[in-house]
């Protein structure tokens, strides 16, 4: 064997080598396979131990992704609108063990749950059912403590307006899907969802709130005094605006009747809308301020020139008459303080039809004023500009604008001639001046201030003069158009004024719709008897808040002493 084997050896060796090699390869292959398998197991083990699933899987709740809304605050940081969490109860019927017991417990804890309805919801094959949306924290805790398996709650967000009706028209409100549909809320949405979300941090730990220009204390003062005035004079509506004339910021804007934005159904009636921007009104004599500024700026009239107001002005078949007829030749300041229609119409006719229109366009009264508030109305202008249209538009007839627009124009005329678009967002004086538009010369503005102050100290607006705060103003009484004709007893009275008049900073507009005469007003229902005293009450309340320092001249002190005596006597 060995002999025969020996010669074969080399061949055998040659044969054996690949065979052993092949055997070793197989072992290596198996080793490699096991190695990979163990590595996979080890890897999976590491993955499972190091990154465990944090939560058990829950039934997924169908919920639209809502973009976070920023809080809204007033100029002093008072909260006007915010999101709060409210709990909503839901159930996963597949997890409920004893449905009868669950129904019994739930109806006992939450009385307004209907047993039948509940049974229908809990016997479905679905894995999710709402039990009750937006429950109180007490109800939530009570249900949670029942410990029914499969019954739980989620926190939902709800928009609330803690100041209630105080900021209703300016702040606006959102619909059920928290989409802004009125006021600043809509403005935020119109800036794009990204803008709205950028104000609110996604984590919602620290939200950068949207800051408005309004001051809620002024809102309260305006709303309170206007409501009292509406009650006293049986007016059907009222409105008030406070503006900073140097920045164009709206500090207060109240339109009555208002509404509570927190109420569930938002079917607000038409008379609850914002009359100051969504409505147009003939502001009457308030527009005279514009005519005076125009005449003084074009130089067709000066403070010393005079006009004949002895006879009614006849243009074609129309006669223009005065309400407080003086039947005299009046100087320009006298026309202003007596609110003479004849005089003002003559001043406008002196300026001329073309230039009158040009001026109205310059101050923006020909176009719609658009602020941040989505509700804005287009001005109603005379269809055809004739001599008569010029004469009547001069004192505000046939010429209806948003009250806010009227306020903005007067603010621009009084602040040195810088017309600025009013804003509801905080703005600095520098920013406002950049976008302001020069409309009249500073001297014209100076003269107009003189006329306003004169009118409040001895003219039709004298009841607005709160002693110490140097009020200046212009009154307006417009007859309302009823069925195409001017009504004799339905009026819109208004007052527009500014204070302190030596360096005007704040503008106030007060408007009353259809005030009725009362015994105290001796049967009168013109502006001087209702809108003006209301303005005085408002100024008395808001001037200290605005930091206006009272200054008393010797005459003022005399007047005060007299008033005191009257009160005592």
């Amino acid at each position: 064997m060995t002999m025969t084997d020996i010669p074969q050896e080399p061949a055998h060796e040659d044969d054996e080598r690949p065979r052993t090699l092949g055997g070793q390869n197989r072992i290596r292959l198996i080793g490699l396979f096991f190695g990979v398998a163990f590595l996979a197991i080890a890897g999976q083990l590491t993955k499972l131990t190091l990154f465990p699933k944090l939560e058990e899987e829950r039934p997924r709740i169908a919920q639209e992704d809502r973009l976070p809304r920023p809080d809204i605050i007033d100029r002093n940081g008072v909260l006007l609108a915010t999101d709060v969490a409210v709990a909503s109860l839901y159930a996963d019927p597949s997890k409920i063990i004893d449905i009868d017991e669950a129904i019994e417990l739930l109806t006992a804890t939450v009385p307004d749950l209907d047993a039948k309805e509940l049974r229908r919801k809990l016997t479905t094959s679905k894995r999710f059912a709402w039990l009750k949306r937006q429950v109180s924290p007490e109800e939530r805790d009570a249900v949670y403590n029942l410990g029914i398996p499969g019954v739980s709650y989620v926190n939902e967000r709800r928009r609330v307006y803690p100041q209630g009706h105080l900021g209703a028209h300016v702040v606006g409100y959102v619909d059920l899907d928290t989409k802004g549909i009125a006021g600043i809320e809509k403005y935020l949405d119109d800036q794009g969802a990204l803008y709205t979300a950028s104000l609110a941090e996604p984590e919602e730990h620290r939200t950068a709130p949207a800051q408005m220009s309004i001051d809620i204390r002024l809102q309260a003062a305006l709303a309170d005094e206007l409501a009292k005035a509406m009650d006293k004079f049986k007016a059907i509506a009222g409105g008030g605006i406070v503006m900073n004339i140097n920045t164009g910021e709206i500090l207060g804007l109240v339109s009555l009747p208002d509404f509570n934005p927190n109420q569930e159904n938002k079917n607000f009636s038409k008379d609850q809308q914002n009359k100051l921007t969504a409505g147009v009104y003939e502001l009457g004599s308030v527009v005279k301020a514009v005519t005076f500024a125009m005449a003084l700026d074009f130089g067709t009239a000066s403070l010393t020139s005079s006009y004949d107001a002895r006879f009614p002005l006849v243009i074609g078949s129309a006669r223009i008459n005065d309400f407080h007829a003086k039947r005299a030749v009046l100087t320009v300041p006298e026309i202003f303080t007596n609110s003479s229609n004849i005089g003002t119409a003559k001043m406008a006719l002196d300026v001329g039809m073309e230039r009158h229109q040009e001026f109205l366009r310059r101050v923006g009264l020909m176009e719609r004023l658009q602020t941040e508030l989505p509700e804005s109305a287009r001005p109603l202008l005379p269809k055809r500009w004739s001599k008569l249209a010029t004469a009547t538009a001069a004192f505000g007839h046939g010429f209806a604008v948003q009250p806010l627009q009227g306020a903005a124009v007067v603010a621009g005329l009084l602040n040195g001639g810088h017309l600025m678009t009013p804003t509801l967002l905080k703005r600095s004086e520098e920013d406002a001046m950049v976008m302001a538009q020069a409309v009249v010369k500073p001297e014209t503005s100076e003269k107009l201030r003189y006329l306003f102050r004169l009118n409040a100290s001895e003219g039709t607006a004298s009841r607005a003069d709160v002693i110490g705060y140097r009020v200046g103003g212009k009154t307006g009484t417009a007859e309302k158009v009823v069925a195409g004709r001017y009504s004799k007893d339905k009026r819109l009275t208004s007052f527009i004024g500014a204070f302190p008049m030596d360096k005007p900073k704040y503008l106030l507009l007060v408007m009353l719709d259809e005030p009725k005469p009362t015994p105290e007003t001796y049967g009168f229902a013109t502006s001087g008897w209702n809108a003006v005293p209301t303005a005085a009450l408002i100024i008395e309340r808001i001037a200290p808040m605005l930091g206006v320092e009272p200054v008393f001249t010797p005459e003022d002190l005399e007047k005060l002493a007299k008033l005191e005596k009257k009160k005592k006597g």
Binding site: T49, P52, L54, V84, A85, L166, A223, D224, P550
Partner: protein, 116 residues
């Protein structure tokens, strides 16, 4: 030699297994704590929002005015009541209106004394 190596490996496996599981256990504990704290923070944030809203609603200027009128007898500030700092001297009464010290009771003084 091989036996020793194997024994060593077995011990290593057991020890490392134990270490791994105890580590995992503490990690899970910490994770639970984190999520509990996070939930707590979230809850507190929600509470803060809710309380802010409530505060704003309770300090509504119209409500405060009504309360001040009823309980404190306050009314609208008159322009005449505002006095400049340099004119303050002229408005100080010669005799204090309320003579607390004369009666031997001075509650504000007592508080100041206590603080000192």
């Amino acid at each position: 030699m091989h036996k020793f190596l194997n024994a060593l490996l077995v011990i290593t496996v057991l020890v490392s297994g134990f270490v791994l599981y105890s580590l995992e256990h503490t990690t899970r504990g910490l994770e639970r704590q984190i999520s509990r704290l996070e939930r707590g923070i979230e809850e507190e944030i929600e509470n803060t929002r809710f309380l802010n809203a409530e505060w704003s609603s309770l300090t509504r200027p119209d409500r405060l005015r009504k309360l001040a009128e009823i309980h404190l007898g306050l009314s609208t500030l008159q322009a005449k009541q505002i006095v400049k700092l340099e004119e303050l001297g002229a408005h100080v009464p010669a005799e204090p209106i309320v003579k607390l010290e004369a009666d031997g009771s001075d509650p504000i003084g007592a508080i100041i004394d206590k603080m000192q």
